[in-house]
């Protein structure tokens, strides 16, 4: 027995055992994936195509074709508006957040006094700006009144107004000016949503080998040139990652999510709610596909 036991276990090769262990390690996830993701996903698609009636015996599902989709797009009063609104805010915010967090990451990567403290403060939004706190913050009345009392609003309003005038006189297109001043006015929203992106960029910048910078300095490149010729191409894969992350992150808190939930759990119209969710999903995947395609053409990979 003592002899055969090791023999039996060694019958499988190391790589075979690795494969078996690999499957075992992935198994919990796989079960969850099947029960809590794939089956519900298919069910949700089925719901979106059917009439659902709930009574004491449970729910009755009858096939109804594209009726729910038609209803969401043509009959429901708020769906179209909410969908375009939440998607346009997403499209407006994503470039701002990505550019801002890249800029901040470069800034926080430099050596200066109190860098650790500054980093600790800038990662704080990862904790604070999530979920319910974010929602309630926008409704705080005391804060709004205090802002105007302190005269802060008048000053900042004036600031961005003058800036806008200056840029329009300099011949910058009005849409661009509106976009930029809008960004200045929404600075808190942007800062608070760029915590994770900042982390990713910072980690990426630190993997760039310092020799590149040393060599470019020898050749006489300025810091500005070094940024565009070294830092930017080297972190460009992460720009893609961050764009995708920012788009996904906007799922968790927006009006569309609220509308889908209200239709499902307050009006108990499961079919319509599922149809809305699928339209939303398709719209978002379309944006993801387009942006991934556009960015990945410009992305620089080392190999």
């Amino acid at each position: 027995m003592k002899l055969t036991a090791p023999l039996r276990t060694s019958r499988r090769t190391y790589s075979q055992r690795k494969a078996i262990y690999g499957f075992l390690y992935v198994l919990p996830w796989l079960l969850g994936f099947l029960f809590f993701f794939l089956v519900p996903l298919i069910a949700s698609f089925r719901f979106s195509m059917s009439n659902i009636e709930a009574n004491s015996n449970g729910i009755i599902i009858t096939y109804a074709g594209f009726k729910n989709y038609v209803e969401a797009l043509t009959v429901n009063t708020s769906f179209n508006r909410t969908l375009t609104e939440s998607i346009s805010t997403m499209v407006v915010n994503v470039p701002l957040i990505v550019i801002f967090s890249l800029f901040l990451a470069v800034l926080l990567n430099q050596k200066f006094l109190g860098r650790t403290a500054a980093r600790a403060v800038f990662f704080l939004p990862v904790i604070l700006a999530s979920g319910v706190i974010m929602n309630l913050e926008s409704t705080s009345l005391v804060q709004a009144v205090n802002d105007s009392n302190a005269g802060g609003k008048a000053v900042s309003g004036l600031g961005s107004f003058e800036l806008a005038q200056l840029m329009i006189q300099a011949g910058v297109s009005e849409t661009i000016v509106d976009y930029l001043t809008g960004a200045v006015d929404r600075i808190y929203q942007i800062v608070s949503q760029s915590g994770v992106q900042l982390l990713i960029f910072l980690a990426g910048i630190q993997t760039i080998s310092p020799q590149l910078y040393e060599a470019s300095k020898m050749e006489g490149a300025t810091g500005y040139e070094a940024f565009w010729k070294i830092t930017f191409p080297m972190v460009s894969p992460l720009i893609l990652v961050n764009v995708v992350y920012t788009i996904i992150d906007s799922f968790s808190t927006n009006d569309m999510t609220d509308l889908i939930r209200e239709t499902g759990f307050e009006a108990f119209n499961f079919g319509l709610s599922s149809a809305m969710a699928w339209i939303y999903f398709l719209a978002v995947s379309l944006i993801l596909l387009i942006s991934t395609y556009l960015i990945s053409k410009k992305v620089f990979y080392q190999n």
Binding site: F37, G264, S273
Partner: protein
Amino acid sequence: MQASKFLAIEWWKRWLWSFVRLVLVAGLAFVILFPILQKISTSIKDKTDLYSPIVIWVPEHFSLDNFRQVITIMDYWPTLGNTFLLSSLTTLLTAISCALAGYGFSRLKFKGSNLLFMGVMLTILVPPTTILIPVYLNLKDFTLMGLIPLLTGGKSLNLLNTYWPFILTSLTANSMKAGLYIFIFRQFFRGIPMEVEEAAYIDGAGIGKTFLRIILPNTVPAIMTVLLFSFVWQWNDSFYTTTYLTTSKVMSIQISSLPYNLGIMLSDGANSKVDPFYQSMVQDTGILLAILPLIIIYIFVQRYFVESIERTGIVG
């Protein structure tokens, strides 16, 4: 002469840049900290200070009434206990299951494991709202493929309003943002040299032992990141908690229903005609009390987090 002038310009440039940087960093840090400072200032004010024109930051009448009020309305201590239990339970289970899955996907390749990893990416990409209703219905009549009715005699279990939905999803690495954690773990494990594992194998360690004794101690930064993210996001989450737990006393539910509860308490259940300023003041205090434990945790973990994030390998 020429050289010293050049040096001077360089010096001025550097000095100017550090000044600009200081202004930028300080300004943005202020933008982030401003709401917290304001909440602290609001929460220690007395009711009369709200209308006093001379009070902006420092209250004239210092009082802790707001805190007392909020603690009674929110049922703060039991709520804190519940939330802490729920968050740490899901965090722990999620970290374990995601670490296992991440290791499986990165190092223990088997047939079809790349295909399954596409599934992980899919869970990241599909908005949770899309699958919300079927999951909800599934948990309401939980049968586990018809096994449970056999045991209990034809009755399915209603898992809503218990912690079971959270336990089950985090045990199977499908809780909130679990795909992201699997991704982080996988990227990190891929960064560990293959030789380390081979050396452990030659020294007689099995695969499980290698994972526990060799790999995990080397991935502490990734583990800390995942633990912190998952704890914080579970703590603040209102999406899943309001769906799965409708009556339990958990922080995010208590916070979101704080205005209504306050209205009911102050006007004895009648149509609420509460001073909106006062209501908002109490709400600010409530938010402060809810995030206070997180900030305390962050202060302790922060150094670790900030310094080690560079090596977590999110980047790959």
